[in-house]
Symmetry: C2
């Protein structure tokens, strides 16, 4: 019988081009609930790095707030990441979407020398210090690599052919990369870091959901 | 062996307070894919009735386009509902969220005498004329009641205790109401209309997903 756990899910907006990828975030919340776990959503209360028209891919002139837009996925139940403490949770999870590398850190714009939102960095490091697991989907492992590369964490971005430049960057950050299939999971037991490729490789929403279920299973079983 | 079918999914924005409910839309796309079906997303290319802060519930001053915001859920693959023809599809599906009754019709603001977006109305009536099934989740059956009440369609909004006023309104539109449990489905075989309560009653995302699976199963089996 699996223990019922409580996870923090950190969102970064609402929509794959400038926020959290919606299918990844939703299937993660579904997989957590189906496994009998509970969750609370968090996001930084800051302006989005940019606003993208998710139909045309063009930038839009308007401004949006990361926590306010994330509330669309969280159905209004979301807290400022400033208030996160690892003592309340059994782990912290980061769905993908470009928001993870534009709003939580700015790797998507700045590359290797990107900056990380200070509250997000504190959340990651305090969870690691508290020996609780951390998980990331799709492009979000880059955020963990930036903050935790110094610990030599092992992660996946899918495979190193399709994402060669990004894989090179996370290696420079200190992380080790593993090639993993679409719905598979990379587990770094020593550092308690779990990652899954999601839409880096998945061809449809069913593969993303299968990956989310495997991801939740692996992170739940980490001792 | 179930026949592989192709469904149109009509979105109304992105987020429960002013667009399509994200969990309902996403679990619907997931349930369709898991059942072996394909889908194409549509939305009206019009300005949203309003923009809501989904964290505070306050109205926001900015303007947003229904199709552009729906593209966040559809990952950029979405068409103008003007281009919809029932001959290309085996049915048309409407997830819930207040967008269904603010952007596809304006029942959420105007009540019984609401207006329906003309292209949405044409999509619904042409599908009915073509003897293809129509499905609606959560509050979206009200849209079908407004357009198809004259045919005496049978639908559910969950139960008539919690949503007494809305149930009264859809009866005035000519529809018949059935009380249905959270993840259950109301099937009107004569008119080929299927509805499920989703977040009208569901307590969590697992119940919404279970309802979406039942909904897809019932609409797929309609002759």
């Amino acid at each position: 019988m699996m223990k019922r756990k409580n996870f923090a899910v950190v969102l970064s907006g609402c929509g794959r081009m400038d926020g959290s990828e919606i299918h990844e975030s939703t299937t993660l919340l579904l997989a957590l609930t189906e496994a009998g776990h509970t969750y609370e959503c968090f996001a930084p209360n800051v302006e989005q790095f940019k606003v993208s028209n998710n139909l045309t891919s063009e930038n839009m002139l308007s401004k949006r707030n990361v926590m306010v837009e994330s509330a669309r996925i969280a159905r209004g139940k979301i807290k400022d990441i400033k208030t996160y403490s690892p003592t309340d949770f059994d782990g912290i999870l980061f769905p993908g979407g470009m928001g993870a590398v534009l709003n939580l850190c700015d790797y998507g714009a700045k590359g290797l020398n990107c900056l990380v939102n200070q509250d997000v960095e504190r959340a990651i490091l305090s969870t690691y210090d508290d020996k609780k697991p951390l998980g990331a989907m799709c492009i979000a492992p880059v955020l963990l690599a930036k903050v935790m590369g110094k610990f030599g964490i092992e992660i996946t971005l899918g495979n190193d052919k399709e994402y060669a430049d990004t894989v090179k960057d996370i290696k420079k950050m200190g992380a080790k990369h593993h090639n993993i299939a679409a719905s598979g999971v990379c587990v770094d037991k020593a550092n308690k870091v779990v990652s899954t490729p999601a839409y880096m490789l998945c061809q449809d929403i069913k593969e993303v959901y299968d990956g989310a279920k495997n991801f939740v299973k692996e992170i739940s079983e980490l001792k």
